[in-house]
């Protein structure tokens, strides 16, 4: 399943087949197994779209840094002494060695261990051994500085990079997803933070299966039967709120599900399991929220779950806790996943503890649900071995409906339509 990519046929064949009249939307399974498709995804999609780098809270203080791989590229993400954020390619301008080899930390400067060149947190060359042997022209040219990623910007605390210097501005790219990011960022007056501890894992399946799965409201009852059993078994695990809601096309391939659900939410949907103390906390959190953002918006924030996909591969699920997740293909049948927990910067010890308890119940590779998602995606990938014969996946649910339900498949059609434009289309549609 992790075998090297093999090109079955040249890409740019029909990959998405939308028959609106009959209400049939199908995706070619070659999109999941073809190495040529993956390379085109890197060229046409990951090299041109805005991609999630990290959250500003991860670099809280001047000098904070972290290293991260984004679309196969090694990025050094820093906050300089003035507090400004920088996204730099983590490769020495001299001869290419990896400048920073730590995952995270705080530094005044970065010294490349190969020949000792020293860079500031803004990437500027500060010092090089044998400096007198370089010309003034060399020093003044700037060729010694670390190369910044062509585009860097942030919205509501979420930081993005883009490898295409000519890409549209982030706010235009995000389209309707902007408002959802703002909604998630406004859970607390104190702002939001990534909790320490990253869930780093891999799935032996094509990355697009996780894009679909992350915004799939249809699979819960069957795939997550044991999770729902568990909540029913626990005294007070659920409140009588039926699953109901809508999915929305946010433009540019982004989509969101917004729905009510019976589980507890640390942003003020109390369940008896949270206890009496929890009830007071939830009431107080809700009251402060309503005071700050108004009753209508507070209700939306507190009682509605959101599964957001920012095209192509940022998922922010504001459900029983908030998870932020990105994933990249390393082969058609294998992806690398990074997941984090997002939480209010300031919340009580009780609230933080229950938030994380709630998170782990469902989410992540040790939870009661995610392992079964992973099993499902890997079983799809095994099924795609038959792609030459059983050639199409069906994504038709809810087609033609004026009000797509949260458990329809509109949001996946939004993803695939955009994917098809960029990866397989002829139109130059950023």
């Amino acid at each position: 399943m992790t075998a090297a990519a093999t090109v079955i046929r040249p890409p740019r064949q029909e990959m998405v087949r939308a028959d609106r009249e009959r209400g049939i939307f199908r995706v070619s399974r070659r999109a999941f197994v073809d190495g040529g498709v993956m390379e085109r995804e890197y060229d046409a999609l990951f090299d041109r779209c805005w991609l999630y780098l990290g959250h500003e809270s991860e670099l809280a203080k001047p000098g904070d840094f972290l290293t991260r791989t984004v679309a196969r590229r090694n990025i050094l993400f820093t906050r300089d002494s003035q507090g400004k954020l920088h996204a730099l390619f983590n490769t020495c301008s001299h001869r290419g060695a990896t400048v920073c080899r730590e995952e995270r930390g705080n530094a005044k400067v970065f010294q490349c261990f190969y020949h000792g060149w020293v860079f500031g947190c803004d990437g500027a060359l500060k010092n090089q051994p044998g400096q007198e042997r370089y010309t003034d022209g060399h020093r003044e040219s700037g060729v010694g500085n670390l190369t910044p990623v062509p585009r860097f910007d942030s919205h509501a605390g979420f930081c993005f990079v883009c490898f295409d210097a000519d890409a549209p501005a982030l706010k235009d790219y995000l389209a309707g997803a902007k408002e959802i990011l703002e909604l998630i960022a406004s859970h607390s007056a104190s702002g939001m933070t990534i909790v320490q501890g990253a869930q780093q894992y891999a799935i032996r399946a094509n990355w697009k299966l996780l894009a679909e799965n992350s915004i799939d409201g249809y699979h819960a009852v069957t795939t997550h039967a044991t999770y729902l059993d568990y909540l029913k078994n626990m005294a007070g695990g659920l409140v009588p709120v039926p699953l109901s809601g809508r999915s929305f096309d946010l433009g540019n391939g982004h989509a969101v599900l917004e729905y009510k659900a019976p589980w507890g939410r640390p942003i003020a949907q109390w369940v008896p399991l949270f206890g009496e103390h929890g009830k007071h906390e939830m009431e107080s959190i809700y009251a402060k929220l309503a005071e700050r953002v108004g009753e209508e918006r507070a209700t939306r924030i507190a009682t509605h779950n959101r599964n957001l996909l920012v095209f192509p591969n940022l998922v922010i699920n504001d459900i029983m806790a908030i998870t932020v997740r990105t994933f990249y293909p390393v082969a058609p049948g294998q992806m690398m996943v990074n997941g984090w927990a997002l939480a209010p910067k300031e919340e009580s010890e009780w609230a933080r503890k229950y938030r994380l308890y709630n998170f782990l119940e469902f989410l992540g590779p040790g939870g009661f649900a995610t392992p079964d998602d992973i099993e499902a995606l890997e079983s799809c990938q095994r099924g795609f071995a038959n792609a030459g014969y059983a050639s199409w996946s069906d994504i038709s649910k809810g087609m033609g409906s004026a009000e797509p339900s949260y458990d329809d498949e509109l949001q996946m059609r939004v993803f695939w339509t955009r994917w098809n434009q960029l990866v397989n289309g002829t139109e130059d549609a950023r």
Binding site: Q200, A225, D229, I374
Partner: protein
């Protein structure tokens, strides 16, 4: 009741635990744990000793959720482990620390193999136990599995009990 625990006694418990897990005798396995037990698998980028109350783990079960984990793993709808994977838990380098009240810390090294669908994944790391002597015998009050991995790669899950 004496709280001192001999290494051989701790080893017997740990080997018994490994054997029960490999035979999927999960109810019997759970019976080795105290009523206030915790079972923890921290994320791999966390410093040793980090509390799950303020950091994201892979698993942070109290006794209630551990019980539910066992219930879940015995269902056919626990898809990740149905059909069941085959596992082999190896435990070594067992060391018994000084008793602290009614608890004794025990550390060990472990390697656990999980095979399913033609793929074998390896989990390895350090086990930190807190053992307690009860009237029913030596029991586990906490098991913390600190993985020596850069993330769960290529595994993707800890759907078995480590």
């Amino acid at each position: 009741m004496s709280t001192a625990i001999a290494r051989s006694e701790a080893e017997d418990l740990l080997y018994e635990e490994a054997d029960l897990l490999d035979r999927w005798q999960l109810e019997q396995w759970l019976a080795l744990y105290t009523d206030d037990a915790a079972y923890l698998v921290p994320s791999t980028d966390l410093p040793p000793g980090t509390s799950p109350d303020n950091a994201l783990f892979y698993i942070a079960d109290d006794r209630m959720r551990l019980q539910e984990r066992v219930v879940r793993l015995q269902k056919k709808t626990a898809h990740s482990e149905w059909p069941r994977s085959r596992t082999r838990h190896l435990v070594s380098n067992v060391r018994v620390g000084a008793a602290d009240g009614d608890e004794t810390p025990v550390t060990a090294s472990f390697v656990t193999f999980r095979t399913k669908n033609g793929v074998t994944d390896t989990y390895m790391g350090r086990l930190l136990y807190r053992l307690k002597r009860t009237e029913g015998g030596l029991r586990i009050r906490e098991k913390r599995c600190e993985l020596d991995l850069d993330g769960l790669r290529p595994h993707g899950r800890v759907s078995i009990l480590l």
